[in-house]
Symmetry: C3
Subunit: 137 residues, 3 copies
């Protein structure tokens, strides 16, 4: 049974633009009262690392910092870490792909708090009865 109030997002890239798009969509969905589930795999795992600072692809980190400041000044958009906190406060649930974790040799204590390590088939179960399903990568 598909639930209208549930959304599932897979994030497979770790760049700043994809990270922000994922968080925007997830927090917007949560703000509208939906259950939002975000599954991070491959490079998407970077978003869940402690002190993650994703950067724009093909550009210096410095430029991403400037862009982030501009986003804040012109559009009132918070930085990545702030939006991540907001997302968690709104109840967005984040998952780390167990296979990617193993393949990259990552341990759970490298991730921010409150992340569940999950297999792809478990996440597909969550996605299967979600109204919105998006792959970001």
């Amino acid at each position: 049974m598909v639930r209208q109030d549930k959304g599932a997002i897979v994030v497979a890239e770790g760049s700043y633009d994809k990270a922000m798009a994922s968080l925007f969509l997830a927090t917007t969905a949560a703000g509208l009262g939906m259950e939002a589930h975000v599954f991070c795999t491959f490079f998407g795992l970077n978003l869940l690392k402690r002190k993650a600072r994703p950067k724009l692809p093909g550009m210096y980190r410095l430029f991403t910092g400037m862009f982030e400041k501009k986003m804040k000044r012109l559009a009132g958009v918070e930085g990545f870490q702030e939006i991540m906190e907001t997302a968690k406060d709104l109840g967005v649930r984040f998952y780390a792909c167990s296979t990617s974790m193993a393949a990259l040799g990552m341990k759970k204590d490298q991730l921010v708090d409150g992340i569940e390590v999950l297999g792809a088939s478990k996440f597909l179960d969550i996605a299967a009865d979600s109204r919105v399903q998006l792959f970001i990568g």
Copy 2:
């Protein structure tokens, strides 16, 4: 209530291949009688700029031009600008993400005619009752 005849696409990249994939899917959907809604955010905004000429990632513009000619000769595929016009003629609706516009300091008069500037939550409303939902980026 989900409508079978409605599709929603988010475009977050501005490269030629992603631009064409978005337009192909949207025009195909519109051609099948569906309502097609395309929300452009981040680099995807490039597609909506006047005289946009998206290029293949990591390649010279010249190569994209050659590829475009080859697409036309071998597969009868029109260029980006022509397909954009076809899409609009078929009733595909294009939206520019208001937050991205503000963050990039873009004004509405930099966009081609007939684009609606919209917030992410408004678009999520459109996506929520769409049968097909795709994130291209």
Copy 3:
């Protein structure tokens, strides 16, 4: 009528991470008893070439080989070719976008066996009554 047990994936990138994400999702879906349909377009066509060896973006092929070995050792993940075979054994159906084939001047005999060459509108028909729809690229 939407079928709960049917999934449709569009693959528009040919890199190792996107290839593996596509195959993981498709085989997981098939393993759960779903019908899985994978439509390869643009650079995604690379996955269907005989002896395809997708590589990680922006890295030497050697590094991808090392990563693949690490994936196998640490997470028990098979290589691309092995998973492709598994996917076909599980009944995942792969399609090559006819327009992309024509544009890239590719012939069907360059593709692995068992691939159907299909137009985008035909695939949209398949996607339209699928429960899960993802664009990977």
